[in-house]
């Protein structure tokens, strides 16, 4: 035993050792009974100074516990990672339930999309009927109230040329119906 070793134990009681020094202290305590006793007395004095009142000044459970731990598994870093992964992993039942839920959600989504699509088709069909009715109402085939064929042609050409810029579906469908000539 050297003064440095005792100093190391004193610093250990104070929780001031890290890394290599902690490793060194662990090795000393593992191999030297006198140093173990010394450390426990340092710890005891420190506890008394902190106001702790103990019935026993010389309790040593370490041997009994060490014996009991011989048969216990030694943890490994890999085992710890697996253990943590197992803690984080979801149970099998969760995946079964999640799959059922996903399937139900997909069916639900399809149903919603189907209904929306049908509504849209109905809207287009309705638009077509209205447009067709509007076209019929014109009787003579005039879609414009301009009364001048040249301007009417120019307006029709304008609509056809700008059809590609339609911002929303269904809007120009109606426009087409009202603007295209019967032959187009």
């Amino acid at each position: 035993m050297t003064i440095n070793q005792h100093e190391l134990l004193s610093a250990l009681v104070d929780g001031e050792l890290q890394g290599d020094e902690l490793e060194q202290a662990l090795l000393l305590l593992d191999s030297d009974e006198q140093l173990r006793a010394q450390f426990q007395r340092y710890q005891y004095s420190s506890d008394v100074m902190h106001g702790n009142n103990y019935q026993h000044s010389h309790i040593d459970l370490t041997k009994g516990i060490a014996q009991a731990l011989v048969s216990e598994q030694t943890f490994t870093k890999q085992g710890l990672i697996k253990h943590k992964a197992a803690l984080l992993a979801f149970p099998k039942q969760f995946w079964t339930q999640a799959a059922s839920l996903a399937m139900a959600a997909s069916v639900g989504a399809l149903a919603v999309v189907g209904i929306t699509s049908q509504s849209q088709n109905q809207f287009i069909a309705t638009s077509a009927v209205v447009a067709s009715a509007a076209a019929n109402n014109t009787g003579n085939g005039n879609r414009w109230t301009v009364g001048e064929p040249e301007i009417e042609d120019r307006l029709n050409t304008y609509l056809v040329d700008h059809n590609e810029y339609a911002g929303a579906s269904g809007v120009f469908s109606y426009a087409r119906l009202v603007s295209y000539e019967a032959g187009q």
């Binding site: 610093a11 001031e16 426990q40 007395r41 100074m49 009142n53 019935q55 459970l61 516990i65 943890f75």
Partner: protein, 193 residues
């Protein structure tokens, strides 16, 4: 990272020596806590041992959300209560907050279980320790007082005393040696009586 946390990580990585050190460090406190529930001293030692073994088995689950001692303290309390239930004895209704468990002077529930002998012994020890500290050189006495009574770290003491951390460490060690000599004498006297 605290020393306890580093020791826990070492245990989690397979270092049983690190657990041995944790036992050495906390066995007195844990036995004292358990004695508050299981009054028989021999039974209390058995329950304390069981609590430490449970703690070892559970240590892979310890994530450091609380201090190691707080976690260990809870295991000890549960082990003591389970022991009393298994022995068909009613566990005490009182409970002690984990934060109080670090200092028993703040835990009146545990003080109820002190005996006059232990109170006297503690009082005598405290008095002896104070006498030793008063007899120390001023720098040494200041260093140990700042550490033990003010709870300052070595770095904080070094700043307060305007000296290197290594000097603080050796001053505290010298103080602790002097205290240990006196405490050892008293313990030996107590054992001979």
């Amino acid at each position: 990272m605290s020393v306890d946390q580093e020791l826990v990580e070492r245990v989690q990585a397979g270092d049983k020596k690190a657990f041995d050190l944790l036992v050495m460090k906390y066995q007195q406190r844990i036995v004292h806590v358990i004695t508050g529930f299981v009054h028989d001293p021999v039974e209390a030692l058995d329950v304390a041992q069981e609590a430490f073994i449970k703690a070892y088995r559970a240590i892979p689950n310890f994530r450091g959300d609380s201090a190691f001692y707080t976690w260990l303290y809870r295991i000890a309390i549960n082990t003591a209560k389970n022991y009393l239930t298994a022995a068909a004895r009613r566990p005490p209704t009182m409970d002690v907050d984990a934060s109080d468990a670090t200092n028993f002077y703040d835990a009146p529930e545990l003080k109820e279980f002190e005996t006059p002998e232990t109170s006297l012994m503690t009082a005598e020890l405290e008095q002896a320790i104070h006498q030793v500290i008063q007899a120390l050189p001023e720098d040494t006495a200041t260093a140990i007082k700042l550490r033990e009574f003010e709870g300052m770290s070595y770095e904080e003491i070094a700043q307060a005393m305007d000296c290197p951390i290594g000097t603080v460490r050796s001053r505290i060690f010298r103080a602790r040696e002097a205290i240990d000599n006196r405490v050892s004498e008293m313990i030996n006297q107590g054992e001979q009586q």
